[in-house]
């Protein structure tokens, strides 16, 4: 008897065995300036993040084009105007877009009104770059306020990639019986958590050593193997300033090669997966978000 999820013929389109969603968090210097506007004077530190727009993002775009994969780029609204040309290249290549608020605001520290304003403004900013597929949302940091789902819907976002806690998409309650589709990730599949480093301010907080590139690639490939085994949905998070160095772009190439070599991966944008899941989600045991709502109704509206 198999208890875990097992590959089913109709979980993904075209008899694909599993899904792979490659995402790029194009936060640029807002990664630092968003939470701490006083960092504006730290020109050298900010240049770490500018590297993403200058070198990393074009290099990622070339890599995705060579491998023929469509990806999803999450962009804070305030980055749209200064990076218009680059984002034009992103959408022209068929990649999808998602929002990160205007300046990577922590949604759990804003009032309901402020949240809605930020979400609407970021939706408006994305509308200036015409991408295919509905735009998604990725929470920059902090917790998910109980009524965020409803506000995302109200601002025009129908899907998110902000949670951990599952290996396939699920529906997050969004008030009045509605829901939005969540495409969850795992922390091991993030270039930033493995490699990002700075002296002052300290990144990461404990300034642990930059991980071994080969070890990280091997972790990613093991997760790929596990996802393929059970027909799940793998979500990789890349950051142009991290993954786009001349040495690390090699990891992206080789990981994408491993994905393509499986021969049965559905490499899709977040919008494609969300739209598919909305139409084809099937039952199972009570999902933790529903359990949470049952035992603590105020936790998730």
């Amino acid at each position: 008897m198999t208890r875990a999820l097992a590959p089913t013929p109709n979980r993904w389109p075209d008899d694909r065995r599993f899904a792979v969603v490659i995402t790029v968090n194009f936060d640029s210097e807002l990664a630092l300036l968003g939470p701490d506007p006083a960092a504006a004077s730290l020109d050298k530190t900010l240049s770490i993040f500018r590297y993403g727009a200058i070198r990393g993002a074009p290099r990622l775009l070339d890599t995705f084009a060579e491998r023929g994969v469509r990806t999803t780029w999450f962009v804070p609204g305030a980055m749209v105007a200064p990076c218009r040309a680059l984002l034009g290249d992103v959408v022209a290549a068929g990649h999808g877009l998602g929002a990160r608020g205007m300046r990577l605001e922590r949604m759990d520290r804003l009032t309901v009104r402020e949240r809605l304003d930020v979400l609407r403004a970021s939706r408006q900013a994305l509308a200036e770059v015409t991408a295919t597929g509905e735009p998604g949302f990725r929470l920059p940091s902090g917790e998910w306020p109980p009524d965020l789902g409803a506000q995302l819907l109200e601002a025009g976002f129908g899907w998110s990639s902000s949670w951990t806690g599952d290996d396939v998409p699920f529906c997050v309650p969004a008030g009045e019986g509605r829901s939005i589709v969540e495409i969850p990730f795992i922390h091991a599949l993030s270039d930033r958590l493995a490699f990002a480093w700075n002296f002052a301010p300290a990144i990461p907080e404990g300034q642990s050593r930059i991980a071994s590139y080969e070890d990280v690639l091997e972790n990613w490939c093991l997760e790929l193997e596990g996802c393929r085994r059970e027909g799940l949905c793998l979500v990789l998070q890349l950051h142009p300033e991290v993954a786009g160095t001349p040495g690390r772009i090699d990891l992206v190439w080789r990981f994408l090669d491993a994905v393509v070599e499986t021969g049965d991966a559905w490499v899709a944008t977040g919008a494609q997966v969300a739209s598919w899941w909305r139409a084809h989600a099937h039952g199972g045991p009570e999902h933790p978000v529903d359990l949470l709502r049952r035992v603590s109704p105020s936790s998730l509206a």
Partner: protein, 285 residues
């Protein structure tokens, strides 16, 4: 002894109530009973190995079907607090409340009386072993002080409570656990290479094989049974099975063996106020 702690979303944030304002953290923890335990049960069935699952009784209450499946698959369940309380922080009546309430939940939802216990979140209270022995617990698997089981001295006398030590080297938290907020590890250290964790685990197993000891794991399904880590976990179990001379025992089986062979195992006890050790090492030491 292959052992898993099915903490789910229980822990400090549930004890202090902050988890109810942290739906993402709740879901990250719930992944254990929701997705990871079923995956582990499949893995154990494929490899033919019995395991012990320590489950906070809040998790039993909210995932009873998964917990019944653990038992129906031939494995054992033991206590791990109600919401993963730190026993060192509880006075005696509060510990009694957690133990008795948990036992009632195990009986109601699973139809079993647990005989095993693992301390949640670090240390226990000086009175905890006495409370466990009084309630008929056969074993605790909490300490780090040996690589084979021993009988515990309680109140100066040798008790029938067996300790099955579990080393941190075989705790997946030391390699893989990661939360954004509150930050874990505290400085947001990197997630270890899966290959390195597997290699360390295999080396500890090989060494235990060589000395004829007992190896006990502290694996958390939510941590070490993501799709990719389950691949690594399976390789570890296969490595142990391939050794051919390993007795995969549940906690109760280990405890009964120790009690039936008192001359073969140490008697070890409480630290005295001066720091000296009560009890003397037995022939198995």
């Amino acid at each position: 002894m292959l052992a898993f702690d099915v903490d789910g979303p229980s822990g400090g944030a549930m004890v202090d109530g902050s988890i109810w304002r942290m739906p993402r953290l709740f879901a990250q923890g719930a992944y254990g009973p929701f997705r990871a335990v079923p995956r582990i049960l499949d893995l154990l069935e494929r490899t033919g190995v019995a395991a012990t699952f320590f489950v906070p009784s809040w998790v039993v209450e909210h995932w009873p079907a998964v917990c019944r499946d653990i038992l129906a698959s031939g494995h054992e369940v033991g206590h791990h607090g109600y919401k993963h309380e730190r026993y060192a922080d509880l006075d005696v009546p509060a510990q009694v409340e957690v133990l008795d309430r948990s036992q009632a939940i195990f009986e109601e939802h699973l139809g079993v009386v647990a005989r095993g216990f693992r301390t949640p979140t670090g240390d226990w209270h000086p009175e905890t072993p006495r409370l466990l022995a009084q309630r008929g617990f056969l074993y605790s698997s909490s300490f780090r002080d040996d690589d084979r089981p021993y009988r515990r001295v309680i109140g100066g006398a040798v008790s029938d409570l067996v300790e099955i030590p579990a080393p941190v080297e075989l705790d997946d938290y030391a390699y893989f656990a990661f939360t954004e907020e509150p930050p874990f590890p505290k400085g947001h250290d990197r997630i270890a290479a899966y290959r390195v964790a597997l290699s360390n685990w295999c080396k500890e197993f090989d060494g235990t094989h060589r000395v004829g000891g007992l190896l006990t794991t502290t694996f958390h399904p939510k941590v070490s049974a993501t799709p990719g880590r389950a691949v690594v976990l399976e390789r570890f179990v296969e490595h142990m099975v391939a050794a051919g001379e390993c007795w995969f025992a549940t906690g109760t089986e280990v405890a009964r063996w120790v009690l039936a062979h008192p001359d073969g195992f140490a008697v070890r006890g409480e630290a005295s106020p001066g720091g000296a050790i009560a009890g003397t090492p037995g022939p198995g030491a």
